[in-house]
């Protein structure tokens, strides 16, 4: 285990060195990312000038939700999204060969070989947004809420990881699977809003489907609600169970894909 921590540190270091080789590009990426987030915050801030609550979430509650979403998105983008994005290219060009030759778990190497440092400042942005929201709450959340938040967020990131791993694995059979990534962006869009917005006659079924069948809506909702609204221990348990099952299944799918890999011409 310690070996993998050291190895991850080495990947993070080399990625940072790579980013630093093109400082200008790196800084532009960071600034654009933060501008984008700032614009969203401005939009929601204006929205709350006209209403006291959106789907039962008050201004500070909603901004905590938004901060949680930014934090989660940043963790996903920083640690593994770009690696999975490149996976189909590795398969298509046969460069996956170079990964499979290393005496390291293939899944680890494919998932974490590059750290996208430029998206990490968004996590800090999210944390600031969350802290500010908590300070604006009438009643401070109990300590247990933070534990539930940490567990919930970890599980949400683990679920996103498993989903991306399975999505990437399909590249071994489909070779080009970019169209499947549209699914990922659809799920990310669903995570961005409180699940209560689906509490309407025609959308109840959609909300139910993405809560219990494909638990996308739980990802941000459950950890955020644990702190600023209601700590639903059943939902936390459901999230933990979903994450464990997804991690297990995705590893099996990935291993199966690696066995089907046929390499490319060289």
């Amino acid at each position: 285990m310690m070996r993998y921590v050291r190895l991850f540190r080495a990947f993070a270091r080399v990625s940072l060195l790579g980013d630093m080789a093109f400082r200008g590009n790196f800084l532009i990426k960071v600034v654009v990312e933060l501008l984008w987030l700032g614009l969203m915050v401005f939009f929601y801030d204006r929205l709350f000038d006209f209403t006291a609550a959106v789907a039962g979430w008050s201004r500070p509650q909603y901004f905590f939700f938004l901060g949680t979403y930014y934090l989660m998105e940043s963790l996903i983008e920083t640690f593994f999204l770009s690696n999975f994005g490149e996976f189909s290219e590795l398969v298509r060009t046969g460069n996956l060969d170079l990964v499979l030759l290393k005496p390291v778990d293939e899944q680890f190497l494919i998932s974490f070989r590059h750290v996208e440092w430029s998206t990490l400042p968004s996590a800090v942005f999210g944390l600031i947004l969350m802290t500010r929201s908590i300070l604006q709450l009438d009643v401070p959340p109990p300590a247990m809420a933070y534990v539930a938040f940490a567990v919930g967020l970890t599980c949400a990131v683990a679920m996103a990881y498993s989903f991306l791993l399975m999505l990437s694995a399909t590249a071994v059979w489909l070779v080009r699977n970019q169209s499947l990534y549209e699914l990922w962006w659809l799920f990310m869009s669903l995570m961005r809003y409180p699940k209560e917005i689906f509490n309407a006659p025609y959308t109840n079924a959609i909300g139910w489907f993405f809560t219990f069948i494909i638990p996308v809506l739980l990802a941000v909702n459950v950890p955020a609600a644990s702190v600023v609204k209601l700590l639903d221990s059943q939902m936390i348990a459901y999230l933990v169970a979903s994450a464990v099952i997804l991690l297990f299944v995705s590893r099996r799918v990935f291993r199966r894909a690696m066995q089907s890999y046929r390499s490319a011409s060289s």
Binding site: V14, D97, L100, P103, E106
Partner: protein, 332 residues
């Protein structure tokens, strides 16, 4: 005890057959037709520790597929192989620590960083102790004469320099077996020579086993005593390099220098060159001694040499003689 054992090793690929044009694309969408291509078809050989073996064959002969099966990158369709006592397709970490595969057309170094950074990453990946890593790196940079290049971004190195860096990265964990797929591709003669010298020296000092594919006969002649020739997935020759010319070279080359103008020699064989007093004659190998004595008795020859034609010619003959591809068309 052989370090590599391949027994009746085979690999089949299912390849989609597609007609050109829009109509072909539409048909392909609904009724796909596949054919099975036998990339490697029952290949058996053994390699002893310390051997340097060349794997020869035309493009698509199955060389790289065989190397990839030995490296555990792809699963054999039939037969089996054992490398360093392991079944490669299990991809055990203990196995992957003990060999390296270099592919001339792929690079594993970080493109925008100096090679030294990639080397450090390799140290972590292979979990090498710092002192062993420092010692090996020192030895290798000296052997490959790249002391001044390790701090330069890889993208700014010449192709030859980059290949040397790739080799260093591949040797840092001191593998016992080195599989090389076209290591000198695209390099000029000087660059090829440097890589050949380094590999030869490394083999002499470390006793590493090497299996090499290359289209450059210079690589093969400089490095390997034994060659495996594969064509259409089948092994058609396994033996000493010199044996190829003995077995497959039908002709000999005579280079002659006469006291006067070169006479008409066409009755002996094919005159490939005749300038002033010099002539080059290609003759039937089996008649070499009788033609020679005839020539010497009838003409005043001032200088003479008998040579084998270039190795490429003999290899080309093996390729021509060996069987046609094995395919089976199936519809699904």
């Amino acid at each position: 005890m052989p370090i590599v054992i391949a027994r009746d090793l085979g690999k089949n690929y299912r390849v989609a057959e597609k007609q050109p044009g829009l109509r072909g694309a539409m048909r392909h969408l609904f009724a796909r037709k596949y054919k099975i291509v036998r990339a490697v078809d029952g290949v058996s050989f053994e390699i002893e520790p310390g051997e340097m073996v060349a794997f020869l064959g035309p493009n698509g002969a199955g060389k790289t597929t065989t190397l990839k099966m030995l490296a555990g990158l792809i699963y054999p369709s039939n037969g089996s192989c054992e490398v360093l006592g392991f079944t490669p397709s299990d991809r055990a970490d203990a196995f992957r620590r003990r060999f390296s595969l270099i592919m001339g057309q792929k690079n594993q170094l970080w493109w925008d960083l100096p090679a030294a950074d990639s080397f450090r990453l390799h140290r972590e990946i292979y979990n090498l102790p710092q002192d062993q890593f420092d010692r090996t790196l020192g030895e290798l940079t000296e052997l490959f004469r790249v002391e001044k290049l390790a701090k330069q971004p890889v993208r700014e190195l010449s192709l030859g320099e980059r290949m040397r860096m790739e080799l260093i990265a591949a040797l840092l964990h001191r593998p016992e077996l080195l599989l090389l797929d076209e290591p000198t591709i695209g390099l000029d003669v000087v660059g090829q020579g440097i890589i050949q010298n380094c590999l030869r020296e490394y083999n002499a000092t470390r006793g590493i086993t090497m299996l090499l594919t290359s289209h450059y006969m210079r690589d093969v002649e400089a490095l390997c005593r034994r060659v495996l020739v594969i064509n259409h997935g089948r092994l058609v020759y396994d033996g000493a390099l010199e044996g190829i010319t003995d077995q497959f070279g039908r002709v000999k080359l005579l280079r002659l220098q006469f006291a006067g103008p070169a006479p008409d020699l066409s009755r002996y064989g094919t005159v490939t060159q005749a300038v002033d007093r010099a002539a080059t004659l290609q003759i039937d190998r089996s008649k070499a001694s009788s033609i020679l004595s005839d020539l010497l008795s009838q003409h005043t020859v001032t200088d003479l040499s008998v040579e084998d034609p270039p190795l490429e010619d003999a290899i080309a003959r093996i390729f021509e003689q060996s069987a046609t591809p094995v395919e089976a068309a199936i519809a699904s």
